[in-house]
Subunit: 158 residues, 4 copies
Amino acid sequence: MTNLPYLTPLTGEVLRAAGVPEGWDFGIADKVRFYELDALNHVNNVAYLRWFETLRIPYFRDYQVSSYRADDPQLVLMTNAARYHAPLYLNDSYVVTGRTVSYRNTSFRMEYAVFTETGLKTTGESVIVCLEQDAKTKRPLPKAAISAFQSRDGAVQE
Amino acid sequence: MTNLPYLTPLTGEVLRAAGVPEGWDFGIADKVRFYELDALNHVNNVAYLRWFETLRIPYFRDYQVSSYRADDPQLVLMTNAARYHAPLYLNDSYVVTGRTVSYRNTSFRMEYAVFTETGLKTTGESVIVCLEQDAKTKRPLPKAAISAFQSRDGAVQE
Amino acid sequence: MTNLPYLTPLTGEVLRAAGVPEGWDFGIADKVRFYELDALNHVNNVAYLRWFETLRIPYFRDYQVSSYRADDPQLVLMTNAARYHAPLYLNDSYVVTGRTVSYRNTSFRMEYAVFTETGLKTTGESVIVCLEQDAKTKRPLPKAAISAFQSRDGAVQE
Amino acid sequence: MTNLPYLTPLTGEVLRAAGVPEGWDFGIADKVRFYELDALNHVNNVAYLRWFETLRIPYFRDYQVSSYRADDPQLVLMTNAARYHAPLYLNDSYVVTGRTVSYRNTSFRMEYAVFTETGLKTTGESVIVCLEQDAKTKRPLPKAAISAFQSRDGAVQE
């Protein structure tokens, strides 16, 4: 995946050309850093959750979930999970991808996957709740976000 | 939970006296650090997974899963998940607890919970696989570990 | 230093009893965590700077530099440095200490040191500037802070 | 600096075209991540030290200081310092650069600088010691590294 531009949101065709399977239409190419290794010399499992977080920032912007302004919703991760498939090492180039698979009135479920040239390395999942700035009151998802979840990711209403 | 000794493995009665519910018999008291907050000013969800990791080190030693020597198994987290219940803030004192709920020949399932004086804040779960030092070949769990999972945590064979 | 209470501000006599040399009168006992190790299996040098940060929070409160409220100054680290003396390993108990050695109208210089039972492991230094909430305009240090720097740490005006 | 390829070692002309001043001939373009912000909403000062570390890995390889193999030297940071010039925010694109300014028989002094389109944001400095794999015995710097320090960075013998 060394031919992909790093740290730049990538979509359908570009991801496909790099070998990312159908169904993953938003991704970011990145590289394993020294501080993401642990004492066992491979990527520590907590780093995966950081990668999902790093992906969500441009995803939320692009899918109009939030533009991180004062009147935007607070987005709280109710659940956050990673599943290991194969180890990653220093300097490995990878693509972290994400999509919304389903949504309700005030929450949505995202899935993540990490790919390198040698295949799938990690998957993950979050349920994210949309709150008012008081961090308590639930707030309906923006209509534009639901529309993007449906049209771009094929998300279904739960 | 300010009356608990920090960073020292705590068991049954001490945890009970501090208000940790029955069923959680191994814990560590700790305190929220500045670097665990994110730009929203509460504990970032990735920090929870770090706390579970920090708990596992003395838990593995105490339950004889590993003593982190050259001939010990490699323990790989196949899944790692956290669930948010309520926010945590700078300097909050908390207890992170863990237990093994079930096991197979070469793997086991742990659950985690984080409590403060005002109740449950976070839960979590991992499936952990026991490998040889080649990081590929599955290795049976140490008998002493299975015995501790059963007698101390009430773990059941899956 | 295993006899010290962890994560609790410690002052003069307690530190002295634990073998911390004269001149260090504010400290926190803590323990090396797995995630602070790097792939070389000892504490990564960046972790030291985290420890200094973790110490500054209660120090600033105790010395009345800031109570982290809306009308408090913004404290910006103009310089931040660590010096390695000896390695630290997983589960090592240590005390991180700090003091203000000098001050000007709107800034002050802190020194840090990390000790274990086997002696000095790390030192450090920061110059910290006191700003208004606009993060630009310099703001005079609180009088109470200067007074504490002088009387408790023997700080001198630069 | 958005026209630079990210996470790819950059040298002289490319850096110059992006506005990096003369004298900085090895750099990496990167982007501020959410987890590098602190509760004050700008890049936490500890993140700068991480960026210097991330730069050193390809720098050491390119300058033949180490290729991170079993018979390579252990490189220990004796000192590590950062100086703040201006704040950085989420998604800012930056270039982190490094150079060796001087060397002795078994150690060398690196300087770092971080630039964005609006100028210099951070500088830094480390003294790095070259040790045998026992992490104690000093080891002479590789001849090829000294040669690269001199010819590429203009480093002088101390």
